[in-house]
Amino acid sequence: MRVGERGEGKWKKVSWDEAFDYITDKVVKLVREEKNRSTIAFASTEGMQEEFFVDLANIVGSQNTVRHPTLCLASNIQGYASVYGTFPDADLVNAKFVIMAGANRAEAIITPDTIDMAKNKRNQTLVCIDPRATKTTAMADKWYPIKPGTDLALVLTIINYIISNNLYDAEFVKEWTVGFDELKESVKHYSVDWCAKETEIEAKEIVWMAEEFAKNAPESVWYPGRRSSFFVNDVYLRRAAAILNAIVGAWDKKGGLVPKSAVKLAKHEVLFPYFDWSEPRIDVGKFCFIDGLVPDHEKTDAGLPSDSCAYLSEKDGSWPVFREAILNKEPYPVRGMFVYKQNPVESVPNRAKTLEMLKGLDFICTIDVAMSDTAFYSDIVLPESTYLERWDPAHNLSGLQPIVVFRQPVIEPLHDTKPMFDIMCKLAHKLMDRKEFWEDTSEEDLELFREGCLERLTSNPVKSFIHHQMSKYPGGYEKLMEDGCFAIHDEPVFGQTYKKGRLKTRTGKIEIFSQRYLDKGLNPLPAYSKHEEPKSGEFRFVVGRHGQFTHANTQNNMWLLEAYGETENSIWINAKVARERGLRTGDYVKVKSEVGEQTIKVLATEFIREDVVYYLHGFGRLSQGLTNIYKKGASDAAIIKDYVDTISGNAALHETFVTVEKV
């Protein structure tokens, strides 16, 4: 529990019971004062106990849950789903021709894609498109250091080349898509020569890519990847990439894009009470402050909304808009926040704003396995047991070949920690005991909730819950316990779309032309618009990951930091540019953007474009609890501007320009 000022780093150890009482007091007080349960926000990120954290949000009755997708792949999901009705996977094991643009599977490791990429290495052509030579380049057959922000020009030109040279799958297009003729018309002015100038990729290479893509279809794929928080009009790029795969018929076939399958798990049937004091989410609706989160020229050029987000996930929200709403106290004040496993201070762009937001809150509780920067700025920190010390419920990993996994403890907790499940149970019961907290619901509702929900949610240990989750599959629980994972099929299943006869879109077809978008005032077909460019002396800043670290979570781990090889990060500057500026590897520079500045070591390298600089996420930390990396190197969150893609609500992390000066 905090005893000094916020962020001063003065703490006292309290018992779990004291902690739960303190939290309960705060929550009850704030909710009653505001007559609004949504005044307590809940921020979290993917994890196998996240569902228990969301249960806690539901018990408190808050609508304000905010999750990681809008710092990551929200625009990707929106873009692909607008075309196919679902966000698919790429069949990397069987694809013959793969274009990986802006995705870095060698360093941003995900299962199974990173491993699949290696499996098929010798039979596959892998094209890596990235302004810097990431470690994925080592695996790739070609690397094109594209001019950032021009990927959409490239995709549309490839589409045009494939259509005008009759390389598309006419039969597939006719049977399975809508809007092909409109597409043909809308892309016809994207010529190869124009594209070469725009993207700075040679014309013959663009032609080669287009021809190979068509030739290898349906075993070719423009890899959807994960993080897509690049530019404010990112959804259009993802739509175009989805459409490229559609016109060559590389959909739901071996080696192409394939809809994810899932193993459905049983849930608890829980009815949360109806609360009178539960206002709708703060990031939904029209707000004038959103205007400031979109660069001026994009509002007109890309036709983006500037007063609201067109498609916001109702559980995930939009981090940049959410924070802005809290700062503006619109549409109502948010006064408390629970944070689970996420670290908004380091993961949400424009760190100064996040700190300002935290400063304005009356209550912050962070649940984490380490003293993250957000934990450091909290009032109370609940130490969670690590994944090696706890039971985690069954989790469906959807994909080409969906599996169910779970976790069991391999050691007793080393310290006085609790898993999220126990924390939720204890807080739920403490809240239940406060009569005044339930004034806004009926006696009957509350009784139902107490018996049907609270009992069910909190009385079962996680192990019995897994038993319930697997109840649809006879013998499934036993198999899961024995093998550690459970699958329905041994091999991926292709062609479900064709069996069903329709996709999950409004028309049942692949929507190249989107009537839905048109109805919302958005471009029904992806169209290219130029992004702002760095002024003379400025660089565009791009973000990235490193194989040893999971986002900003694991830098403080001694083994991983050692494997990284240094205790601080370095800024990549093109070797020629560095020479011209008299900068050498190891010099320190001040990197300054519109929103912040950081000091960092130089790495002069041939692996990056002249107009771009980059440094690794997760350094330059504010928490004194992260002893190995506290104030070491530079934080990217501190300098990245908080622009937002107003179609999906995703952050736009590549719209920041910086100056670099020797110190």
Binding site: T136, W559, E606, R609
Partner: protein, 185 residues
Amino acid sequence: MSNKKYAIILDDTLCIDCKACTVACKCENHVPAGFYEYRNWVGEVENKKAVFPNISRKFRPSQCQQCDNPPCVHVCPTRASYQTEDGVVLVDYHKCILCKYCMTACPYDARYENTDIHAIDKCTFCYHRLAEGREPACVETCPPKVRKFVDLMDADGEGNKILQTTQTEVQKPEKGTNPKLFYIK
């Protein structure tokens, strides 16, 4: 004579420099924390002539080459360094006097001073695991499966099959050490 002769075949074109092998090795073998103590590593093959955008990247994981003709064993004055019957080079820590002749003799820079046990230390092919029928930790943990642990005495085994049908190279063949780490070309 043993009926085993262990070797590792590596396809380093698959290496993504994630260093799972290094971390697994340090944890499995209680290698002390610190940037300078390690039994295996991943290096980047540097191309000094590379100029943007004409570059390429390549990573090469490595460790003790488990030479058939091990110079470290030959120079050791106390016979702390020795070769087992199945061809694995080990160090008897009790006999080691830290003279570091072996470190000088090794052409692969594969040895380091273990500050916990005050002896020279190196890769053992996870000798303690082999008896249990388990592969070395670096082999087991690798996500893209760069390494294959093989027995060269098994005439029809996977190892001999790969060596007969694929072009491989060893590091610094001119040193005459006959390494048992083979890299697929």
